[in-house]
Symmetry: C2
Subunit: 359 residues, 2 copies
């Protein structure tokens, strides 16, 4: 057979393979357990997990059911990756940057200070090679990752006192997680690791001066404005936080192709949906907070520049110690720089005009 005929045969074979499912094979019933790293009280971010489960069920006519558990119901919120890796649960709903201690490069799966917007992050994942890079990292934990949500830019946090200069950050006792913590500490902030439930009383007693949380809609529920009412913007430290679905690799391989597609599609829709919900609800919550006497304040340009420099230094620190981090950072930064340029030329510039000319 000539090469040309082989190719023709190959095409015909492919067509036959596509037609095969019409023989109506019945699909198996599959039940999974998925735990989120987030509490039920955050209907935005935890809601992403239920969105995925509901969509998957509908897409498979109820044959692939994922039972959703909130943080702590099976394992602790930050043990989700471990639990999926060893198969305690088939799937998890979490954020890569929680696992900075296991593998620092996973922070790029979620977002880093002075990083990408949700839109830029999606472009990096889908057409910039980001998803391949991230899946290579997660493979070392025997899990497959699918991006499944984004909070949008998070606010700068709640501060008991006004922060006018870079010096005002020195000695400040602030709760800030992971990579953010390492940036703030470069500016003299005394970073605290305390459980979420202890934040309110600590601010009230004055043993804590500041906390960074999410945005108006989520923050309002915690009532932080009652004990620290200087609310800082803009969210340069977190222009987006991308959530991820993670599935145990062996369990993912056992899924029929159709169910795997259902998972991917459900996560894509959850990705779109979560940001839309945050955008619609955050501005309403911000209005309520302002009516409750919250002081909306903006970082000075000097403070943002100091944070940007500290971020670059923290990146270099991690890159010097970790070749994987260095490789991912280089790839990520090239794409990010291009996207910032494109936004500065077109989309961002148009938004800038509208922000200045609201009429």
């Amino acid at each position: 057979m000539k090469r040309r005929d082989m190719l023709k045969f190959g095409v015909a074979g492919g067509a036959a393979a596509v037609a095969a499912p019409a023989l109506a094979q019945s699909q198996p019933t599959i039940r999974w357990r998925m735990q989120s790293s987030f509490p039920k009280s955050l209907d935005t971010v935890f809601g992403g997990a239920t969105t995925i489960a509901q969509k998957v069920s509908k897409l498979t006519d109820g044959k692939f059911e994922i039972q959703v558990f909130s943080a702590g119901e099976i394992v602790g919120p930050l043990q989700v990756l471990d639990a999926v890796q060893i198969g305690t649960i088939e799937a998890g709903h979490t954020a890569g940057f929680y696992y900075i201690g296991k593998m620092p490069a996973l922070v790029f799966d979620t977002g880093v200070p002075f990083g990408m917007t949700p839109r830029q992050h999606n472009a990096w994942m889908r057409y910039g090679g980001g998803l391949d890079l991230m899946r290579d990292l997660y493979k070392q934990f025997n899990v497959v990752q699918i991006p499944c949500g984004n909070t949008g830019a998070q606010m700068g946090g709640w501060f008991r006192k006004e922060i006018k200069t870079v010096d005002d950050l020195k000695g400040l006792r602030m709760r800030a997680a992971g990579f953010l913590g390492s940036v703030f500490s470069k500016l003299g902030v005394v970073v605290q690791q305390i459980p979420a439930g202890d934040v309110y009383p600590a601010l009230e007693r004055g043993t804590l001066d500041a906390v960074e949380w999410v945005g108006p809609y989520d923050d309002e529920k915690l009532g932080l404005h009652k004990v620290a009412n200087n609310y800082y913007a803009p969210g340069v430290m977190e222009l987006g936080a991308s959530l991820c679905f993670i599935g145990n690799e062996a369990k993912m391989r056992e899924l029929p192709a159709q169910y795997r597609e259902a998972l991917e599609a459900a996560c894509a829709e959850a990705n779109l949906d979560m940001l839309a919900k945050y955008d619609a609800y955050n501005i309403q919550a911000l209005r309520r907070l302002l009516a409750a006497n919250v002081q909306l304040r903006f970082w000075s340009n000097d403070i943002m520049k100091a944070l940007q420099t500290a971020t670059a230094e923290a990146m270099q620190d991690f890159a010097a110690k970790d070749a994987t981090f260095a490789k991912v950072h280089q790839h990520w930064k090239a794409f990010r720089d291009d996207q910032v340029l494109w936004s500065a030329v077109n989309d961002g510039a148009a938004e800038r005009f509208l922000a200045a000319n609201r009429g």
Copy 2:
């Protein structure tokens, strides 16, 4: 039976109905034809239609197949709505603003000058009531709409001469479609309606002075920079253009619930995917265009303000003549104004810092 018991019975009945599909009914094989309003040469925007068809096929194990046709293969590019309405084809891939002549309010389904970003548009659709409003409009054409893609902000267009002042727009012969055309004409632009294929020779001969098209990646293919090399930004006239899937209402009702879900999920993923592709490719194309001697120019603040005022006037013109337009515009504007404010406080402000401090 008391009302309370009836409710309980209702719930129990609902649970039984959910369990029913486990009886393994075999799903029907369905073949649809879908025509796009876009040519195959635009792999970005036309590609959205093939993305939808491929995803739907995979999600239904090949049982629901949608055959995709490009502009003109069955009906003309702007006859897609008609063809779906009367059932010539089951589905279409198009943009609402093409049908401004049939129903002006459909422009809000796509985007209007000084309008919403793709992200804000998604928020309006999913959590702002926009989708319900739009589906009510499309219902009058017997079609169901599903948002399925966005180009992001489009560039300001190609101009043979530099446009320094508002006066430079007077008498300019420009190809600009639909609502955009009515805004430009308020500033003295002589808006031309000529087929896409005639644009290049008209610019070359000098019988046309300017054209607005899409963005660097799509525009580069047409080679417009060779005959009009002043390329204007930012895209205030089109901060986003949302594409839509439309399905014939009767045909949509015939679909099993699972197939309908597959369509919705496929469109959501196509929505996310198209913008990611544009963002990744546009900046690369812009670099190539700049290397080919294109003059990247920015609208002056005066020109943007004049365009914004003309847009507000055009909105009022349409609203005065059409109660539906007035109703949708009011709803849309309240949401848009809130979103612009939120962006000015947080996400957009963070992006603005990065644009100014790229280091």
